[in-house]
Symmetry: C2
Subunit: 302 residues, 2 copies
């Protein structure tokens, strides 16, 4: 997915939010915002949002000297999610279609996203998503692809969400390779976060080589790109991975909650919708419903 005009103010908001997690110094935060503004002034729309986001978060890290401002947050999220693990396992076990229940739960875990939000209510938000209709639902295709697949390449997203991923992986019944980011960015899962969620017991953990908050093939390691190209089935979690991979012609299923309006419109759904979308299936025909970038603002006076 390309960067849209609406992403510009959002990058600045993300920088502000992250800077505030690190420092109380208004002067320091202003310095960060100024540098992000100067960077954005030179940025064209060609890149995907995670490519620009990577640079924005690097400015915050460079100016504060804090490489991983979300370290504590990530641990807290993983611990919180683990405390629900037994309950979620029962939910899947008791479901009429346990695979579908696990898919739904994995999407629910996608609420743990500090790029998009700063507050969430894990229990309430998960419960809501478990009762929500899918906005795109390629489950039948997913099930067929899974049956045929020898192995699954699973692209992780956020720390804590990894616990929900583990539940889905335990349900897939296939060998799984779980890919994490190369280094900390926002609250995206790195190796330690995957381990803390217990994923090392159920999957082979690898790094994508990517330092952006998403999977951008030209920023990934060559060995990882080869894995992507040879994969039977790729499960891509979350917005950042979608943003990087939505145009790739690969056997990808995107699992996400569209927390941001721009991504929702890119997919052609309402904001807040939950998605299980094949990169290759008929739901791509929905492209006609995709958002037009500009178009005059509609004035509403009633």
């Amino acid at each position: 997915m390309r960067t849209y005009l609406d992403c510009y103010p959002c990058f600045l908001s993300q920088a502000l939010r992250t800077a505030r997690m690190i420092t109380d110094s208004e002067e320091e935060i202003l310095g960060i915002l100024s540098e992000v503004c100067a960077f954005l002034a030179e940025t064209r729309l060609g890149a995907t949002p995670p490519e620009i986001g990577r640079r924005v978060y690097r400015i915050v890290a460079a100016r504060t000297g804090v490489d991983d401002p979300f370290a504590d947050v990530k641990s807290q999220c993983t611990r919180a999610a683990l405390s629900f693990y037994p309950k979620f396992k029962r939910y899947v076990r008791d479901a009429r279609d346990p695979l579908r229940a696990a898919v739904r739960l994995a999407i629910a875990g996608n609420i743990i996203d500090f790029g998009a939000n700063i507050e969430f209510d894990l229990q309430r938000d998960v419960r809501d998503i478990l009762n929500q209709e899918f906005s795109v639902d390629d489950y039948a295709d997913f099930r067929r692809a899974l049956e045929k697949a020898g192995q699954v390449l699973y692209l992780g997203d956020n720390a804590g969400e990894t616990v929900f991923d583990r539940i889905l992986i335990e349900q897939l019944g296939k060998p799984v390779v779980f890919a994490v980011r190369e280094s900390p960015v926002i609250n995206d899962a790195v190796w330690e976060d995957a381990e803390a969620a217990g994923l090392n017991g159920v999957a082979e953990i690898i790094s994508s080589g990517c330092t952006a908050p998403g999977t951008i093939l030209n920023l990934c390691s060559r060995s990882f790109v080869r894995r992507m190209e040879k994969a039977d089935l790729i499960i891509s979690k979350g917005q950042g991975n979608y943003e990087g991979l939505s145009e790739e012609n690969l056997p990808i299923f995107f699992l996400l909650k569209a927390k941001c309006r721009v991504i929702a419109q890119d997919i052609g759904i309402e904001s807040g919708g939950i998605v299980l979308k094949s990169a290759r299936s008929s739901s791509q025909a929905k492209a006609g419903g995709k958002r037009r970038e500009t178009g005059r603002v509609k004035l509403v006076i009633r």
Copy 2:
């Protein structure tokens, strides 16, 4: 009121929203955003938001060649508000305290603000405000100051809102001078907008000399500043005027709806609150409750 860090992303959003009202060209809009980013990169926090906003809207005007993108919107708002004029007059006439009803109505008119919003439902929003509790209510002081005042200096805000101002002015029972902006900025009222609302029949219309979306004394004409300094009673409508004048030691009563979180926190109230606030009264003691600019983000995981 000073500019807060949260104003930075908002300036960018405002530029984007305004640019979209003028053009469908993504390239042109991106050029505007880039120039606004470059300008913001050099901007310190010392200025008030309307001073920075003035420069932001000038960038949009200069790059598009459109000086008054809200011209049509302003006419539509004035016409829409005038269609409610008889109904609102009855509301005031039938009220137990017609002055208070007119004050409330004037605040309700402050929803017509394209700096803060792009959509509003005039009938519903006005009705809601007419039934809303005040978050700051210096009405007793206001009533006393009005009784003593020889003349009232009334600082207008937005076009369309001017119709609501007219109803309050008709209720004041004192000679009124109504100040408008020197030239178009956002949907702020200029001379023509005041006339279109029928204000020329009930007040002397003057320009403040200010081209910012607010009243910034060092950007106003000298004759206007003298009027401010000599005024018995100043009624200041809306956020922009508050942002410019909140620190001035003058006999001002601020009438506004706090549509933006930053202004609400500066006043020490919840966002969405309605305000009749004396610049000099005891409600200033609330300053202790004012917003701390920084302070770490509170993480909420439940």
